[in-house]
């Protein structure tokens, strides 16, 4: 698959079919991959496909001029389609190199299961549903569902629906999806007062680095309400009330665009379980409007579209 990707990407640049290639190169740390954004055909030799290519590359699309060839997992493809739906991108300006994705390995889960930091691990390898972790010469085996990211366990689209080049056999979604993740399921059963305390505590440690917003392909605004000063919607200080407002407003702003790619939660340096908020919104959008973002290029974006038969209880 990697060889094919390199050939295709190189050909796209050589034949001037695209100006840029966005893909993954080997990361500088063990078990990482890093986004590669290049217009140099020799760089395509560094393209890789592995279970650690965690970034949603669609995030880089709106910052580039010209046509772009982009390596896309199913989740990335949904963000690309969502951008096309919102007129942020023209379909003909993007060449989708589709990677059927078996799910990405969450190193934090591996660390918890093995009881060691990633630095101490020698190898993580995957064969079908079996993931083998080697540390100190000892091998430990896990099932994929134990070590994949929560959002991967909920993945509805492992293979992009919309693509130009398919890099391997398509993969269907898993027969049973685990949509909620531990936290969200637990929160649902928690009384409101306690839930309030939970979020107050979680959001107290937000440092307002805005990584959650900046990795989000759905957060494409050139001016964000957070930074507006007239009027000033939020104080630019990491006070928990302001942090909470920031997250709630951001979540509402991406309703109907969020594809549950899980990037916001993954990048949070202070471990705020942001997907518990975004997935809840994703489910509400699905339930009320029967809408799933990034699934259908022809569908109207949720928030610019109204149909009379839309349930009145949408307004509640």
């Amino acid at each position: 698959m990697e060889q094919k990707l390199r050939q295709e990407a190189k050909a796209l640049l050589e034949h001037k079919k695209v100006d840029w290639i966005i893909g993954f190169a080997p990361g500088s740390l063990k078990f990482t991959a890093t986004p590669l954004i290049t217009n140099d055909k020799d760089d395509t030799e560094r393209l890789v496909i592995n279970p650690f290519m965690v970034n949603n590359l669609a995030d880089f699309l709106t910052g580039l001029e010209g046509r772009v060839g982009i390596v896309a997992k199913g989740c990335d493809s949904r963000s690309i389609i969502s951008l096309i739906q919102d007129n942020k991108l023209a379909r003909e300006d993007v060449v989708i190199l589709a990677v059927p994705c078996p799910g990405l390995i969450d190193l934090a889960k591996v660390e918890r299961l093995v009881g060691k930091y990633r630095d101490e691990l020698d190898d993580i390898s995957r064969d079908g549903d079996k993931v083998t972790v080697t540390a100190d010469g000892q091998k430990k085996e896990f099932t994929a569902s134990q070590v994949l990211f929560d959002h991967c366990l909920a993945c509805e689209l492992p293979t992009p629906q919309e693509y130009d080049i398919l890099l391997s056999e398509p993969r269907p979604p898993a027969p049973e999806l685990e949509t909620s993740g531990q936290n969200k399921a637990k929160l649902k059963e928690t009384p409101p007062a306690e839930r309030w305390r939970f979020w107050k505590n979680e959001l107290s440690r937000c440092i307002r680095c805005y990584a959650c917003r900046n990795v989000c392909p759905a957060c494409f605004c050139q001016r964000c309400f957070v930074e507006e000063t007239e009027p000033q919607w939020l104080m630019p200080i990491p006070r928990w009330q302001d942090n909470l407002n920031f997250q709630i407003i951001r979540n509402i702003h991406v309703a109907g665009r969020c594809t549950d790619c899980g990037e916001c939660e993954r990048v949070c340096p202070v471990n705020i379980p942001l997907r518990s908020l975004t997935r809840e919104m994703y489910d509400i959008v699905g339930e009320l409007f029967k809408f799933k973002s990034g699934m259908d290029r022809e569908a109207q974006p949720l928030m610019v579209h109204y149909e009379q038969e839309e349930a009145e209880d949408s307004f509640r």
Partner: protein, 342 residues
């Protein structure tokens, strides 16, 4: 002069003893992220931590947000209500050498021509007790940055792991007063400490050659192509700066409710476009200019001002970056154009 020592199982009682005199802070995960927090009187699990805290101890002196003062709008202008002086004596326990070095580097700015009262009122009341690293991470490169996993230069006391015990190096007089009741280390302990230090030093495998970096950056300042390529994958978040132990930029903002107001200061980042936003213009609107600023501030401007690189190799930015933008790779890739314009 002999060093002191303490058994690992006696650390809790030692901290308890110090707690009579100081507010003791130590690494904790209680808040949901590894950071320094007031010691709870029992938890010393941080002694076994492999990795450094996510939030660096600079937060103890320059917190993510703090009140500077309050004010009230009166009939004849504003009445300022200064914040009470910090009088609390504090002790930070378990500071890693890279972070202690970073505090010394940030001190240079806040103790310079302008003496920053908010920072110094906390800093001057605080003792630092260092803890050596035995297992440096893959992302650590402290040994290339003028410090090392057991370097004691920037703390009051330094604890070096020697198995079931710590050897304690008394670095300052203030530190020495804290260890009066402790046993003296034997020659054998000293030998073990040397061995432990060397082993840790050898485990730092990431290296960074900073020779001539100041001049290389100066010569490459206008190489837009290089900076654009370097900045391509950066998402302009604030992780690498806000959580950098040597980054000290802050923003100031006022909040008024009716006639009463509060002035805050809070962490800010040169990675944010708004950082340099002015009426009519933003000199760092483009991402590559902001990335250049971040790199040059640490490796060019700080050395020009204070003769030291403002990076201690703690590796946080490497570990935490959402896109694996790695400062060591960037520094290595700065083109050498120093001979070009001569």
């Amino acid at each position: 002069m002999a060093n002191k020592k303490v058994s690992k199982k006696d650390i809790a009682s030692l901290l308890e003893q110090w707690r009579q005199q100081f507010a003791v802070f130590a690494p904790s995960r209680e808040s949901g992220v590894a950071a320094f927090a007031e010691w709870d009187g029992k938890d010393v699990s941080f002694l076994d931590w492999y990795r450094n805290t996510v939030v660096p101890p600079k937060a103890s002196f320059l917190p993510p947000m703090e009140e500077m003062f309050r004010f009230e709008k009166g009939t004849e202008g504003y009445n300022i209500k200064p914040r009470p002086e910090e009088e609390n004596k504090r002790l930070l326990f378990g500071v890693r050498p890279c972070d202690a070095r970073a505090i010394a580097i940030v001190d240079m700015t806040f103790k310079d021509a302008y003496q920053d009262p908010y920072y110094l009122s906390k800093r001057n009341n605080t003792l630092l007790v260092g803890l050596s690293c035995t297992n440096p991470c893959e992302s650590c490169f402290c040994t290339s940055m003028g410090t090392g996993p057991a370097e004691s230069a920037d703390v009051d006391l330094m604890l070096v792991d020697i198995g079931d015990e710590f050897l304690i190096e008394e670095v300052t007089d203030k530190g020495k007063e804290l260890t009066r009741d402790l046993k003296e280390a034997t020659e054998e302990d000293e030998a073990k400490a040397e061995q432990s230090k060397k082993a840790a030093y050898d485990r730092v495998t990431r290296k960074l050659n900073t020779e001539g970096i100041k001049d290389r950056l100066l010569a490459s300042f206008d190489d837009q192509g290089f900076w654009e390529k370097t900045a391509a994958k950066c998402i302009s978040c604030g992780i690498c700066t806000l959580l950098c132990p040597t980054c000290y930029c802050f923003d100031i903002s006022d909040e008024m409710v009716k006639q009463e107001g509060t002035r805050f200061r809070s962490w800010d980042s040169c990675g944010f476009p708004n950082y340099t936003k002015m009426p009519m213009e933003n000199p760092r609107q483009e991402k590559w200019r902001r990335v250049r600023q971040k790199v040059c501030h640490k490796y060019e401007f700080y050395p020009m001002t204070f003769d030291v690189v403002a990076c201690t190799g703690c590796g946080r930015c490497v570990r935490l970056c959402p896109v694996n933008w790695d400062i060591t790779q960037v520094i290595e890739s700065v083109p050498d154009k120093t001979g070009v314009n001569k």
